[in-house]
């Protein structure tokens, strides 16, 4: 039995779908952020998988995954800072209730 590209892609796809599902359905902003991480992670995984199976010998996929991780980290940090800030000012994490720029 070979571990072909497909084997690796399937979990990635499912992870991605779960991320989408979570992003769409969750109300808590942190939960949304978690879903977002899932999506990002699935994309990262894909980069790597394609790099490995389709373009062995080069390493663009990996390099871009590295960049993506860095950016994801930055993004998460900022997002959490904002979320906490919002929580501080309105005491609420529900995304449905944070629809005004000013309170």
């Amino acid at each position: 039995m070979d571990l072909s590209i497909l084997w690796y892609l399937i979990p990635s796809v499912i992870m991605f779908a779960c991320g989408v599902y979570g992003f769409v359905t969750r109300k808590n902003m942190i939960a949304i952020l978690i879903s977002l991480e899932l999506i990002l992670n699935s994309a990262d995984l894909n980069f790597v998988i394609f790099n490995r199976f389709l373009f062995p010998g080069s390493m663009e996929g990996m390099v871009f995954t590295l960049f993506a991780i860095a950016i994801a980290a930055a993004e998460t940090a900022i997002a959490i800072a904002i979320i906490i800030n919002i929580y501080r000012s309105i005491g609420e994490m529900n995304i449905r209730l944070t629809n005004k720029m000013k309170n």
Partner: protein, 175 residues
């Protein structure tokens, strides 16, 4: 023919990823969701290792599983009573999300299965086809300016991270 160990590892990790992703988006408790996410990220890191990208796996573990998760946990603890449950989800939105996700899976899986390009070599063949990636190669790739070398994005990312630090400080600052 891949080694049985590899195959078993694959299955364990794959199932873990699938299950924990699912649980991460289904659980009503945030702290648990974060924990499940951690497991998913670790699973991805194991895949990276398995695919021969050790450095990447390490970065994944360090940055994601280590750094970002800590941020999450802090955020959750700062804003939540750990026992508090998240509010119940709206049904129609849940159905819509499920349909979208299901359609996505179906669509992509079908695409993957029918794509002839993807029925290629096995992992072991691919791993054998190239020399292992060394830190030197990664360093060269990040600091060179030739083709397939990425100094400019690297610098951009570093500027981004700097901006991010400053931004984080500014945003988090008390007024």
């Amino acid at each position: 023919m891949d080694s049985v160990g590899n195959i078993i590892l694959y299955f364990v990790v794959a199932i873990a990823i699938v299950v924990f992703s699912f649980m991460a988006v289904r659980t009503t408790k945030l702290l648990r969701a974060a924990t499940y996410l951690l497991f998913v990220l670790i699973g991805s890191a194991i895949f990276y290792f398995q695919l021969g990208y050790q450095f990447l796996g390490a970065v994944q573990l360090a940055v994601y599983a280590g750094g970002i998760m800590v941020l999450f946990v802090f955020a959750i603890l700062l804003t939540h009573n750990p026992n508090e449950k998240a509010k119940p989800l709206e049904t129609h939105r849940r159905i819509a999300g499920a349909i979208a996700a299901g359609l996505g899976v179906a669509c992509l899986t079908y695409a993957l299965c029918t794509m002839p390009l993807l029925n290629g070599a096995s992992l072991s063949q691919c791993l054998a086809a190239e020399e292992p990636i060394t830190m030197k190669m990664i360093g060269t790739a990040f600091t060179g300016t030739n083709r397939m070398q990425y100094l400019l994005p690297f610098e951009a990312v570093s500027v981004l991270l700097l901006a991010c630090i400053i931004g984080g400080v500014v945003v988090a600052r008390k007024r």
